[in-house]
Every structure is written in structure tokens, then in C-alpha cells.
Symmetry: D2
Subunit: 424 residues, 4 copies
């Protein structure tokens, strides 16, 4: 299923007048609207292949039908999203769920949709059929050399798939850890993991990056061997210049100040990328911005400030990816909402008057600093982002068009009501 | 120090053109702007007398100067806020910090500023000079009858002060609890507390309400005898129809869903009032809306929905009060920011299309429900609230006027740089 | 597989001398050892049928082999545990995972092992094959009447199975809630749920109890419709005298004071039962006592104190059950460890000198109160519990005997390495 | 007030028979009791001078009387504790609260009591009378150079006092941070702080250590500039080999795995010292071991394992200090309880069969690993620690002797009921 261009044009035409009214209003209050629009058009968020199916919990999964049955269909789904919003121009694959039988063909298919391949993801948190050794007690941390070997080899295999697809980064998320005190020697687990990462690192092509993702808990409930940004940074520092920390918004202890972590990682030149989602309790994997939109804004504030301070390219120098899972929503609708939340927030961060903010900071004027941030956050950037979409050839209201076109209905008809995509 | 009317008019005149542009934009998108403006004008948030001085922590207090030295000066300060925003038409006193020497004169003074007396607050969490028994081990929960007696009598005394001032409610916040396992018999502590509250309840005038405030921790760090909404509701139910639960936004365990608590208390007819502030970790007492503005919106969503369902008067049927403390800001500026955050959020809650929201709920359409809430939250209501202020005779931008008029400078000149107001 | 009596005797004989040394030491320091031993022998903890297989997370499940393939085998497993410790004399079933084809035969089988049927558990958090309506958007809370009807009927069906097996209670755990703000009208969700519970309540036999279990989050990540003890108590109070609150140790927000909740529920006569497990982050379902053993002790302190104050029978007047899940342990070993932790802690709670504790509380002597609790907790009760087991005909060291007899090996041989029991 | 030697002897004599019974029992089960006793005798925990008075919260302070009025009296108090338990042979001073007028005399006085001077503590979280610049907006992080200069100079002054007293370490705890988003540039705050620490570091004598203490929140409630172990390690690594991280048990986000942090810091050679206390919610500063004794055990497990792996001297190579504050207990009693909890737990950690534990870890046998840790934790080490005290010339039951000798009564008589020691 594809959305044809004329459908988008019709949709935009029907909304254009009201859009103009709204855009003119916001544009009149912004000094560098054109520069901001350009940045918004450039900014792309990768879609993870596993987010295209309904996400489940250990208590069950309630599929909504029409889920992609193959890598090809996953690419089609992302292509559809990208056609709608022109901000989802990349896909992040997961091995072994998305092994490309014919990499060249897959690459060509993606290119047709304007998609590139973002970070590759390995999986050593589950046992696959036919796998020789179990990851029940961890992978890279494992006390058994042969298990570590298997996990290292798997990661190198993932790199190889990525090379063929034109990806240039590997995200290593390890569920390694322990459920009970005493189960693990923390130091040894760290050392084993480091050694494994070093071998994988050595297999990276010259232009690749490795993202070391951390997580506070789940599926291990006593300790995690890459448990927080401090641990991840330690690994990344010991590994070398191609290794970076990856931040997933749902992977922290309660009340963590994530924006400060982001700022410090950028300061150290060690922030690699982002997994966007939202959460209230733990790794809830909810729609981006659905629970704590102001926190998202504060994070983008640090991203823009910190990247600009290092002369980084917003669109290219960090890995941007959604990592959400969703039991009660149509996954594609959820992704549209997530991308929208990211774009609106990025736009707000671009609107912050940084000179004024610095001046308030130098004056220890917390009241004025708050005014600047809050007034920017209170600014309605929907028309700005819509205008960027309009100029990029996307839909003014992607979700509305998705619904009007009854996309899910078509997908169910095409693929069946009982399809279940690979993933959690 | 007062802000004269003509200053406000001048200020408004200078901003009027831009305000019109902004107001016209938002008004064009709202069907019942007039009705909403009326509600905004009616809505008043009480200022607690203890928030007029710099708040401290156990690690220190950094006074900013010009703090009110007497109850009269506190009323002047609130009068000043109310002149600026016409939304702070009430003051909440704390006994013994604010014992009115001449109640009639105090009442008259307040009336001059257009202020009424909101809930009276008792204090049994500190020992006062000359006090016979210590509250070191609690007040109403105390194992010693004479301590409980003293605490009960104090509360009745507070009611009596309130009667003279025209207040009609008593907020009982107890710091009672324990710091160590074994220190307390939980059941007995509850029973003692209930008996004490019953005596105080019996002393309430016919038209009064009693607000039973809960708090999860601090200053007791093992247990609190009114520790959560469940406990507070238990007390309020046993006490009778004049007893209600009071919700303070900073008094919960991490990640609590406060808006659900609010909805259920309204369902039970037992929500009495609110202490607004914001927090990231505990009872941080930060400026309202400065950390989790979306949570504040979701709470107001439930408040409006729940009050409307019971036919309640938004402005009069619940007690609205700020309870913030602020070490790094000018307290008056902080209060202006807090009131502004409340008004903007209340305005957004009024804008929610309830019929549509109900329809999405009946269709189990979580995506559309989220769209409705988020699109409303993304709506910039600043011009709407400013218009309400304009019509009420207040300033379009209270904080800007406060700064332009150099109010703090005047207060410091008048009262001295070393003054410290009573409070925490 | 069964452990024959003579094996237990041999095992005990081999350990007897050292046991005597240890038991004599502890007995010399305890005034009423015999009374305590009697209580320990009486105390039985129900084993949930779903804990007999390896528990998983949404990230995977690592079965260890030899898992029970049928209800009969589950009963055999519990029989085996009970033979080893004589403290696991009950089993708690879950419908539809454990539908008894021939209830009379099942009942007889259980009786052979000395087992009775504890609380029945319904399941409306998953969709079953062939089920007419989905629980994707909740069961009793559902906006659709037909879904609520289906969930009510299911619960009544569960009661009917329970009647045939001699159970006398129903545990209702609802995963109902929402993942996104706006998805649900909280008040309506509560009312629908209450009405459903009322219908189920009406179907309870005269001597039955209904346990309303609460949980703070998971699998819903924004709100839970029975989310905390306050909500559960509200339901239970509205339902009537047969309805009680059930406390699961892993179902709270971070830092909750669970022992105080227990004390207050006992005070209200509304504590119904317990799901024992342990957790560090959320509903981690770890082995009882493996993370916070002192918290477990403080909870048992309140249980013993509160039950004695109401003249309740420790062994019979509350429902005691383990609810753990375990990805990295042999489930049967884990259950042996869990039961052991419960027995040791119960023994400690029985050893508390309550008169002295009350005296310290009346003297506000927090230091002495802490001394009493901590000195009791520091008392090594292992020999006391072992003696109780010895007298009851069980093994001095159940886990050691289990391992010596290579039970798991036998079970794998008998049932296969790839068996996966029903459950999470 | 001092406890004369003969009083201790009489006390010990009266308890000796029962002690023997208990010690013989435990000694019979331990293979290397003598070696353990030696380690217990060697182990000393420093007492902070500010813990000798009643601690308060922002809601009030309830002094118990007899608090030390001078540095000399503080040393006497610690001397008294040390006489009672022979495990409190060091005192940690806080400048400016404890400026020694005559350092030589103070040193001699301490020596009389067998006390040495542990880490010196600076204070840049409060303004002192006569101080030129305010720390309202931070100290080393401050945007104003003159404030940073003042804070640096203060720390160097503290080092100088320490040199005269024979201390060899400086603990830097900074309350620096922010209360509101936007108030601070995180990166700049870090850089300023680093530069300040570098200047202080340069002033350290050759044999000194600097401890960089971290804290998650309070008194700043949005961000802390040394907020977690990751940040502290970053500072310590950039500073050099004399800089270390200091862990305070109450300074973490909810649910943090502190023992893992300890293990990793030891692995990096960057763990410097410990502030012992306990907490349920935040920096509650409760008595050590009063809330989570098993966590304390797991931490000591890592400490012993990690120090042994590096060949470190348990008693000398890390800084051990209590940092508790206590509103409802006699501070000296509280310190006796805290030291006791530390010693009992250290004894347990020494009892762990490390060879067996390693074997279980290499076998991925989580059940057996838990058995080893829990059985050790369940072992009652009270008689072992008492024996160590007996051999060191201290009291078998320090708290009982303290109470029998009515020490507090004497102190109140000597110093007055209204004395308030410096501190929080």
C-alpha cells in the first residue's frame, strides 16, 4: 500500500487556507523562520523495524492486524510513513528478525522509498531456534567463553549485514545482568563485556560508529551490566573514538535528569544517538512526548545547544531513532504521533533565544531563564512543522490523511488480520 | 508599595497592539471565547502568607531582601500581586506565624486590596517558644494525651482566628509519623489522629470545611500518619461531610498518577482543595508548572471534567492555593509565574473538546484521544489569559510590569535588605 | 516423581547432630519455643500453579526443562515441595490455564499429597483462543458492555470450578487501565469495574471471600484501574463484607511503606491475603526475601501484631500465597527458597517481645524500639524452622535433599527438556 | 564526661557468661574466627563532628539537650563513643563549624582519647556571617569568578587546618546545581567546577586524597553539578590519582544498585570512601542499617571482595565515616547503633565463603549463590563483634552501658538542656 502523491496534494489543498492563517501568525513572530524550516526539513528520524507491529508485554500482546510479514513489507510501511511526513527517511533493522536475503534488492527497495539504513541492532537477549548456546545467563558477560564467542560472532555478523545495506553504525543493547545478589561478579561481568565489545569494535569498518546502550533494569531485575550512562561512558571511553553512548529515554531510574546526562555526554564528545519514546514508570515504550513533553523539550534544548557548541550537524552527527512499542494503538499511527512530537519539540528548541538565555544565566536570573524556556515551549509550532512538511512534499496532517485513506484497513485486507510482525 | 492603576494602564497600552494580534488569532479558533474569558476572570488562587519570603532547605536559606516583616506587609504583598494579575484575590494564613493582633483591622486592610481569607493553616510540626509540650514525637498521633490535647486546642484556636477573618476552611497538615521501624504502632497512631481530628471537626462552624492534607514523606522518613490519598480519604470519610482530602502536588511517591487520584476523589465527593507547586524528586516546592506542565494540564483536565460532572462551580467549590517555596527566586516573581502557569493550564483545560474526547473513549481510540489532549495542550493560551487580565483591570504582562517598576528594589528600600519573613 | 519418606529420614538423620546443636542454642534463648514451633508447623503457604514453570519477561523466556505439562503434574510438583517442607500444603489455580477436566479426580489427587485448593485466579488480561471479545482495552472497565459481560461470566465460571475443588476464595487481579492520557475516563472505568465486581460478588458462595488485588503499573503504563490500596479498599468497602484487599509485594510505587498499608488494612478488617515475592524496581517477581528481607520482617511484624489484636488465626484467616516468576532459577528450587524465607521471617516476627515493644512506643523511645526489632531480626531462626519441619515429617534442609535426589534431572527425564508450563 | 575503665570491666563481667555461650556457639561454626576478630578490632569508623547534635529538617529541629558546645566537647563525645566500642577512633571535622583555635592542643586532646582526624569537610553550601560573596547560586560552579575564588580559597583553608591536625584527606561535597530548567548551563557548570577542583587538588599535600562526593538531589531540586557516580568519576579521573569518588548511601535515585557502583569504582581504583547512613526516600540520614540492612551487607560483600582483589587494607585504604542526622534519637545512642550495624555487617561479609561463591558464579547457579549470601546474612554475628570489643577493651553492650551510666543525663547537667551543637 502506498499513498499516491496526488492524494497528498489534495489533502494539502483542502487544508491550505487554515494552514496559511496559522503559519503566517507564527512566522510573524519568528525572525529566522526560513533557516528553521530548512533544519526541520533536513531532520530525519529512523523507524525501527520492530515498531511496525503491535508491541506486547509479558502479560500478552493484542495484535491489530495488517502487520508486516517480511522485511520488504516493513520497508513499505516505513516508506508509507515517510511519504506522509518526509521525516522518517531511515529504517533501523534488527538481526535476526530482519535478515536480508538479498541485501542489494533490499537496499534498492528502500531507496525507492527514499529510505536509508540507520543503525543495525543485534540481539543477544533471546535464544533463537537452532542457536548453540543459551543467553539465559547473559551474552558478552557470560562466564562461559563459548557463549561470549557466539555473541561476539553474532554482532560481527550484524555488522556484515549492515555493510551490505549501507548502514554505518551498530547499536549494542545488552540485557546482560543478574536477577539475584551473588549471581554475578560485577567486575568480571564488566571485564568480559568490555573484552567482547573490543572484539566487535575491532570489526567495525573505518567509518562506522558503535553505540553502547544502557538500561537501568529489565529484563534483569537486580543488576544490569550496562546499567547507566556512567557505565556506558566507561565502556565507550575504553573502547575508543568510534564508540559512543546511546540514550534511550525509558532506560533510567525514577526522576533522573536525562537532559543533564545528554549535555555531559555531548561535552565529552561521547553522545552517539537517541532512542525516543516516553514513560511514566520504567521502559514503558510509550509514544514520544505522550507523558513528559516538557522533558523532551529540555532534552532538545541541550541537544541543540550542545551540538551547536561543537559545530555538529543536527541532522547527521547523531543517530536519531524511535524505540517505542504499543499495545493499544495502531503502530503506524503511533509512529506518526511520535515523529510529530519530535519535530514540534525540535522546532521549539530551535526557537529558543540563546543569547538571551545565556545572559540570564550569567546574571543568575532563574526567573528570566524560566520565562525564556517556558515561553518558547508555550509557542505553538504546529504550523511551522506543517509548513516544513508542505515544502518537503509531505502531508500537512499525516495522521488525518492516514485515517482518511483507511490505510490500516487496506493493510489488513492485503496482509490479513492475524499477521504478527517479528519483535517484542 | 502599590502599583497605581495608571501604571497598569500605561503598561497595557504599550503592549496592546501585539496583544490584539495574538488574541485575535487564538479567539478565531475558539468557539466560546467569551465564556472561557469569564471563567478565567472568576478563577482566583490563594497566596499562602509563608510564600512571600525566600524559602529555605535544611542546608540553608538565602534571603533576597525586602521580605514582609508583619502580617500587614504580607497582605500588602498579596495585594500587589492581585493588582498585577487580578487572579490572586485571597490569602491563606498560617498560625502562629500570622496571628492577627486586631482581626477587624486586618480584615479591613485585606478588603482594601480586594482580598479574602482562604483556608487557615495550623502548625503542629514545630515547637514554638513557650509551648508546654513538644511535638518531637508527633502531635495528634502522640502517645501522650496532653500533647494531643495541646495540638487539638491549637487547631481550635486557629479556627477561631479564621472565624474573625471570614475564612471558612481549615487545612490540617500533620507532619506526624515516624523515622524508624518500631517507633510507632501504626494503628494506634491512626486512631489517636482520628480522635483528634474528630474533636477539631466538632469545633468547625456550620459552613466550614476541613481539609486533611496527606504527604508521603518528610519530615518523617519512615512513615507518615496521613501518608497518601487512601489514608486521607479514610480519615475524611470517618469524620463526616465537612471533611475533605487536600492534594499537594509534591506529596506523592515517585511516578504517582495524581490526575487519577483527583478524578477518584471528585467521584467520591471528597476532593477539598489543592496545593499547587511542582517537583522532580519530592516535596521540592518549585514553581507551578516549571517541571511537569503536562501533568498539570492532565490534572486540570480531570478537575474540569469532574467538577462539571457534579455541577460544581470551578471558582468557588474547591480550595485553590499555591504552596511553593523558592530559594533562588524573588518570591513575588515566583508567585506571578506560578499563577500564570495555573491560569494558562486552566484555560487549556477549558478548551478541550469534551464531546469529541468522550467519543474517542467510547471507541477505544487512544490515538485520537491523545490527539485531542495534546493539540489542546499545544495551543498557546497566553493571549487568552492576558485578555482576561486586561478585562479584569490587571496587567497584560504582570512580571514585566513588576520588573519595570522595580518593585523588589522599592521593597528592599522600604523594609531593609536583611528582613526575613516567617516561614520555612 | 516423589520423595519417599525414608529418603527424608535418612537425610534428617545425617544432619541431626548439627541440627541439635543449633536448635538447642536458639531454644535456650527463647521462652516459648514450643508454642512457636506449633505455629510454624501450622503455617502453610499456597503455591501458584503458574510458578512451577520458568517465568519469562517480554524479552524472552529460558525454560529449564522438566516443566509440568498438565494440572496433574503441577499438583505432583507442589506435592513434592510439600513433602520436602510440609509448609506448602495448598495450591492456587489459574483459569483457563488449569481447568480441571475431572474436578473430583483432581481433588482426590491433591488430597493424596496433603494439598488443599487455595484462592482461584481468573484471567482477563489475555485473550484466549476462541474468545469472543478482546480484552485489549480492559475487561471489567471496558466501555463495551459485551466485553464486561464476558469478563464477569469468566469470573463466575472460575468460582464454579473453585466450588468443585473445595476452594473458598477468588482473587481478582485486573490488568485494566490505560497506556495514554485521555484513553480512559477514570471515573467511568471505576464505576464499570465496580459494577462488574458486584455481579461477581453476588455469585460468591456464602463462605467465600473475594480478594481485590491492586497494582501500580504494568501491563498498563499510564493508569491502572485498581492501582493502589486506596482504590482496592474503596472497591472492597463498596462491595461488602466478603470483599477484601490483596497485597502483592511487587505492586507498589518506589519506596512505598507496605507494612503500614498492611497495618491499616488489618485495622479496617479488610486485609484478605498476600502475594509474596520480592522486587527492586517493579513487579520483578523475584524470590521472596531475596532483595529486602528486613522489609519482609517488618511486614510480618505488622501481620502478627495486627492479627493478634483482632484475635485472628495466623494460619487460616488470611490467604498466604507466593507469586513469583523466575527466569534464571529452577522454579522448584526458587519456591523452596521462597517458602524458607517466609518461614524464617514469620518465626522472627513471633519472637518479637511485644510487651517491651509497646513499652518503648509509649515512652517514645525510638532507639529501644529499633533495638528490639533489629535484635530479633538478627536472631538466626534457621534451626527453629528446621525443627518445625523435622517434627512435621519434612526435611531439615529441603533444598539440599532436592539437589541430592537430583529431582530436576528426574523430571527432565520424565517430562522432557522442552516442556513449557502454562503461565507467563 | 568519661566512662571509666572499671565501669566497662564491671559491665563486661556481668554479661560474660551469656556472652561466652553465644560466642562459643558462633565460633564453633567459623573456621578462621581469630583472623576475623583481628580485622574487626582493626576496623574504625570515623564520627562526623556534626552528628553529635540533634539533626533537623527544614520543618524544625528538636534538640535533646546536652549537645556539645565546642570542638573540645565534640572530641569528648567521640572519645566517649570510642571508649564504649573501640571502633570509633576517628573524628571528621567540618569547617567552619569546627575551626580549631589551637590545633596542637586539639590534636593532643584527641590523642588522649585515642582519636585521629579523618577527612576534613568544607562548606560552600551555606553563607557564613561576614562572608563576602553568597553561595545562593552555587560555589565552584558559579558564573562569577569571585565566588569561585572564594570557594577555592575556603577549601584550601580547610586543607591547611587539616594539615595541622594530621588529617590526610579532604571531602568536597558541593550542593551546587540548579532548581529550575534553564538556570544553568550544565557544561559550563561542570567546567567551572572542574577548574575549581583542580586548583584545590593542586593544594593537596603529597600524601593527601580528595574525595568528590556526589548527590542526586537536595538542596537543589532540578540538577546537581556532582549528581551521580558517573559525574564524580569523570571529575576524579580528570583531576588525577589523588582524587576519588565518595559514596554516601543516601545520595542516589530510587532503586539504585549501590553495591554495583561500589564494585565498579573499586575496579577503576577510584573508590575513596563511604558515608554510612540509611534511607527510605532520599537523603534521609537515618541510622545505618535501620531500613535496608541487606543492602548494607551486599555493599560490604563488594567492598571486601573488591578490596581483597586489589590487595587493599580494609581498615586503612578507604575512608569510612558515618553521616547521619537524627531528629528523634539521642545522637550518641544513634551513633552507637550505627557503628554496631556496620561492624555486624562487616563481620558477615568476612564470613562469606568466597571460594564457594565463585564456584556458584562460574556454574551460573543463582540459587546456590543466593544460599551462600543469605545463609551468611542470617548468621548472627553479634557475639563475634562483642568478642572483638571485649578484646579491644570496650564494652560488650555499649548502648546498655551508655544507658546504665545515664550519660545523656550527665551531659545535660554539665552542658545544659538548651545547648545546640553546630550542624544541620
Amino acid at each position: 500500500m502506498q499513498i499516491e502523491k496526488y492524494k497528498i496534494d489534495e489533502h494539502n489543498q483542502s487544508m491550505l487556507k487554515e494552514h496559511r492563517r496559522r503559519f503566517d501568525f507564527i512566522a510573524a513572530g519568528v525572525s529566522d523562520a526560513e533557516a528553521i524550516l530548512k533544519k526541520l526539513i533536513d531532520f530525519q528520524v529512523a523507524i525501527p523495524s520492530w515498531a511496525l507491529g503491535t508491541g506486547g508485554t509479558r502479560f500478552g500482546r493484542f495484535s491489530g492486524g495488517g502487520e508486516p510479514r517480511s522485511l520488504e513489507e516493513k520497508i513499505e510501511d516505513v516508506g508509507l510513513l515517510h511519504a506522509l511526513n518526509r521525516s522518517s527517511g531511515a529504517i533501523s533493522l534488527h538481526i535476526p528478525w530482519d535478515i536480508p536475503g538479498n541485501p542489494a534488492a533490499i537496499k534498492a527497495l528502500a531507496a525507492q522509498f527514499g529510505l536509508r539504513f540507520d543503525a543495525m541492532n543485534s540481539n543477544t537477549f533471546q535464544d533463537q531456534p537452532g542457536q548453540q548456546y543459551t543467553y539465559k545467563y547473559g551474552s558478552l558477560q557470560n562466564v562461559k567463553k563459548e557463549v561470549r564467542r557466539q555473541a561476539i560472532d553474532h554482532n560481527i555478523e550484524v555488522i556484515n549485514y549492515g555493510k551490505q545495506l549501507g548502514s554505518d553504525s551498530l547499536t549494542v543493547w545488552l540485557s546482560d545482568g543478574s536477577c539475584f545478589p551473588g549471581q554475578l561478579n560485577f567486575r568480571q561481568a564488566f571485564q568480559h563485556t568490555l573484552e567482547g565489545l573490543q572484539e566487535i569494535y575491532a570489526a567495525l569498518p573505518g567509518n562506522w560508529k558503535m553505540f553502547v546502550e544502557y538500561k537501568a533494569f529489565e529484563p534483569n531485575f537486580y543488576s544490569m551490566t550496562v546499567g547507566d550512562w556512567g557505565q556506558s561512558l566507561l565502556y565507550a571511553s575504553k573502547l575508543g573514538p568510534k564508540a559512543y553512548t546511546l540514550v534511550d529515554l525509558g532506560h533510567h531510574l525514577p526522576n533522573a535528569n536525562i537532559e543533564q546526562i545528554v549535555a555531559l555526554l555531548l561535552m565529552e564528545g561521547k553522545l552517539g544517538g537517541f532512542h525516543f519514546n516516553d514513560s511514566k514508570y520504567g521502559d514503558d515504550d510509550l509514544t514520544v512526548g505522550s507523558i513528559k513533553p516538557y522533558q523532551l523539550f529540555l532534552i532538545f534544548n541541550e541537544l541543540v545547544e550542545g551540538m551547536d557548541a561543537r559545530g555538529m550537524d543536527h541532522a547527521r552527527d547523531l543517530g536519531w531513532m524511535i524505540d517505542a512499542s504499543h499495545n493499544v494503538k495502531d503502530p503506524l499511527e503511533d509512529l506518526l504521533q511520535s515523529v510529530e512530537a519530535i519535530m514540534l519539540t525540535y522546532a521549539q528548541a530551535l526557537l529558543i533565544d540563546r543569547k538571551k538565555l545565556v545572559a540570564t544565566q550569567l546574571a543568575n536570573d532563574a526567573v528570566a531563564a524560566q520565562e525564556i524556556l517556558q515561553n518558547t515551549f508555550r509557542t505553538d509550532t504546529r504550523a511551522l512543522v506543517a509548513e516544513a512538511r508542505l515544502r518537503a512534499g509531505a502531508a500537512l496532517d499525516p495522521l488525518a490523511l492516514y485515517r482518511n485513506e483507511r490505510v490500516r484497513e487496506h493493510l489488513v485486507k492485503e496482509r490479513g488480520a492475524g499477521t504478527v510482525a517479528t519483535g517484542l
